[in-house]
């Protein structure tokens, strides 16, 4: 009875503007075995997760475009400028996506957009674009929770059944487990998100923001090997990064001022480098994240972990999580930068899942909000 559905998704809660167009095949389509088609480098490949009875249906990504607003090293992106960037780029991206997807307007079922959480002004720009498209093309609107978007895309791409999810990005740090039609938050960062901590640290050391500060920290950390002492703030199932940030910023300033005279306390011969600071920070914050994830897994009795969000691209984090999961007889799932980093396709996907259950956002309710808890969403497409 369900025919194939297509949705457009718009994302812009931070400095990445994403436009995605997704296709959910109709239910009559038999679940194909994994396609031999190498979709690793193509944005319009078909993804067929391991065929299981209850996993999300195989989805087709018709277009997944993104443009990032980058600020110079030593600075962060401001809401005002970011919103201006999104306004400047959204039409172009939508046009390009439509062209790439080769879909007809009448095939589109809904326009999905990020309702929240995120930064106010950028969210607003994207909300306006979504509303305009909806009015223009006479399509229903679907407001989507950004975090749920990440989770659903992660599940679809990796095929993970019911994992504990670690959602880590510049704006969010949450450990989530699904229960009774809600994504329950088991643990979270009490002050700043881990990505934010990394980004701000990058600023103090004037590390480039291109392509992303976290990426550059990761590369530098690969050549670091001194583990200095940072406060380790795990409070039960939650974590706190402001203390660490303060200390590591202090260290960064000390490094700049020391001019090579700051030596490794163990050997007293080799000087501490930027790489060592990056290494120290990563090892510490990632250990904290793996720890709270492990706690949630023990609590819930799960063995699988899914990492989503921009910081999830980090290979060291994936490695640490993998070792932990293996010790528990489980495994870790992660996606690549196309899906880890904020994108429009995840919004289209999650929005379409909701829309197929009858969900729609009326025009007068198509607002946006900076605070939108993951567990506020009724996940009625799962049982």
């Amino acid at each position: 009875m369900h025919e194939m559905r297509i949705a457009v998704g718009l994302e812009g809660s931070a400095n990445k503007l994403g436009v995605g167009i997704i296709l959910h095949p109709s239910h009559d389509t038999p679940t194909d075995p994994p396609s031999p088609h190498d979709s690793a480098h193509s944005d319009d490949g078909a993804f067929h997760p391991h065929s299981k009875q209850h996993s999300s249906p195989p989805v087709q990504i018709l277009a997944n475009l993104r443009h990032t607003f980058l600020s110079p090293p030593g600075t962060g992106f401001l809401p005002k400028d970011t919103a201006a960037h999104h306004r400047r780029w959204v039409v172009r991206l939508v046009r390009q996506a439509m062209k790439q997807a080769k879909v007809r307007l009448e095939d589109i079922d809904c326009i999905c957009y990020t309702k929240g959480p995120g930064m106010g002004a950028p969210l607003g720009s994207v909300a306006i674009a979504a509303r305009t498209l909806s009015q223009l093309w006479d399509k229903p609107l679907v407001g989507v929770n950004h975090c749920v978007g990440h989770i659903e895309m992660g599940r679809a791409i990796t095929g993970a059944e019911n994992p504990v999810v670690l959602y880590v990005s510049g704006g969010n740090t949450q450990v989530i487990a699904y229960s009774a039609q809600r994504y329950r938050i088991f643990g979270e960062a009490l002050d700043v998100a881990v990505g934010n901590c990394l980004d701000r640290f990058a600023r103090v050391l004037h590390i480039s923001n291109d392509p992303a500060p976290g990426y550059n920290i990761e590369q530098l950390a690969k050549t670091g090997n001194v583990l200095l002492e940072l406060p380790y703030a795990v409070k039960g199932m939650d974590v706190s990064f402001s203390g660490i940030l303060a200390r590591v910023e202090e260290m960064a300033k000390k490094l700049e001022a020391s001019n090579g005279s700051w030596l490794d306390p163990e050997t007293n011969t080799s000087p501490i480098t930027k790489s060592d600071l990056c290494f120290t920070l990563q090892e510490t914050v990632f250990a904290m994240l793996v720890e709270i994830t492990e706690r949630a897994m023990a609590h819930v009795g799960a063995a699988q972990v899914l990492i989503v969000g921009g910081v999830g691209c980090n290979e060291r984090l994936q490695q640490m999580m993998g070792i932990m999961a293996e010790e528990r007889g489980g495994s870790v799932y992660a996606t690549d930068e196309r899906f880890c980093i904020d994108n429009g396709i995840m919004i289209a996907h999650a929005g379409l899942l909701a829309h197929k259950m009858g969900f729609e956002t009326q025009l007068e309710d198509s607002t946006f909000t900076q605070r939108f808890r993951t567990d506020e969403v009724l996940v009625n497409w799962r049982d």
Binding site: G124, R131, T132, A287, R295, M321, L363, T369, R373
Partner: protein
């Protein structure tokens, strides 16, 4: 605490010295994220003990791992020693003089209500404490709850439907937590699984040999429940009476702040509600006893202050999302061919400069 798990061969290899050569097999009682808990004996066959091992986490940097393990074992031990009042912590400089003023006011105030520390090795990553007989409070409440359903007909329970017994138990809980807070310690992980109900009539389990139990028979390596009693000296505890003993101080901190105490109670409240939904309404007894119970160290103003703080914590506990209403206006674009395609909304609030001076040219409908 979860059901015991048979000891896997690989786990045996990981046992630290001296336990890897223990004559008595170790029984794994619980496996949390942080640590493994075993029942064993310590220093003598007649001293049952709880062994908590913090295994090495290979995914952590080894330096960090060592640092954390050491810090956590020591922190837990220090708290227990302070509460039990053993050693130097009890009355400055090694003098073991009982100071009436300080009784219940810090050091030693919880003797008998928390396990005593028997030994530790921070390099080896283990801590051994006194074994507490009996079952968890969680199990006790389940018993009481079932009795309510059955009309209170079980032996040892009185009251209309056993509610009085439960209330008594919950009052005890409130008082013990109050005592704990008065000693300047916050548990950090209060749940009904972290509290034991030690039967009053059981003499401290001093001897594995002297009760007629066949000492040559092998110790059970898999127990059916966490309330293992290798040789019961009383009938299994049907009633809800006994001493309420707090265990698992792995997340405990030394604090006297109202905020920390309120959060401690909040954690208990939430855990209680999700584990014992039928008894959720009775939880008020716990809080009442905390602030008003005779045996509570927080009786009176201190307790009431914390309860008030608890209300704040409850509100904050869920960062309420703020779904604000933001209305937007996009006017018709003057002098632009695409004018009619721009949407206009009914609104009364213009926000920011998002829209000022910008107009959009959308792909045409065709």
């Amino acid at each position: 605490m979860t059901e015991p798990i048979p000891l896997s061969p690989s786990a045996h290899d990981r046992l630290p010295i001296p336990f890897n050569t223990s004559p008595e097999p170790l029984v794994l009682i619980a496996q949390g994220a942080e640590s493994l808990l075993y029942k064993t004996v310590f220093l003598s066959l007649s001293q049952p003990a709880a062994l908590k091992i913090r295994p090495v986490k290979k995914w952590r940097h080894p330096t960090l791992d060592k640092r954390l393990t050491r810090a956590r074992i020591l922190a837990e031990a220090r708290v227990l020693v302070k509460l039990s009042g053993e050693g130097i912590a009890a009355g400055g400089g090694g003098r073991k003089v009982k100071d009436p003023k300080r009784e219940g006011e810090g050091v030693g105030g919880m003797r008998g209500l928390v396990p005593a520390v028997l030994g530790l090795d921070w390099e080896g990553g283990w801590l051994v404490t006194e074994w507490i007989e009996g079952g968890t409070i969680k199990e006790a409440i389940y018993r009481g709850s079932r009795a309510r359903t059955m009309g209170g007909s079980r032996v040892g329970l009185s009251g209309d439907d056993g509610v009085e017994e439960l209330r008594g138990l919950l009052r005890k809980m409130g008082e013990v937590v109050g005592k704990l807070h008065a000693c300047g310690v916050v548990h950090g992980d209060l749940t009904t699984s972290n509290m034991m109900l030690r039967p009053l009539t059981t003499i401290p389990d001093k001897s594995f040999e002297s009760d007629g139990h066949d000492e040559t028979s092998p110790q059970p390596s898999v127990a059916a429940s966490a309330s293992m009693q290798p040789q019961p000296t009383t009938t299994p505890n049907d009633s809800l009476s006994g001493d309420l003993v707090l265990i698992d101080f792995g997340l405990a901190t030394q604090s006297v702040s109202d905020e920390d105490r309120a959060v401690d109670l909040y954690v208990l409240e939430r855990a209680f509600g999700s584990t014992h939904p039928r008894e959720e309404e009775l939880f008020a007894c716990v809080l009442h006893a905390y602030a008003h119970g005779e045996g509570s160290g927080m009786k009176g103003k201190p307790g009431k202050t914390v309860i008030r703080k608890l209300e704040d914590v409850r509100m904050r506990g869920r960062k309420k999302s703020m779904l604000g209403r933001v209305d937007v206006f996009i006017g018709k674009c003057e002098g632009c061919q695409h004018g009619p395609l721009l949407a206009a909304f009914r609104q009364h609030l213009l926000i920011t400069e998002i829209l000022v001076g910008h107009h959009y040219h959308w792909p045409a409908m065709a």
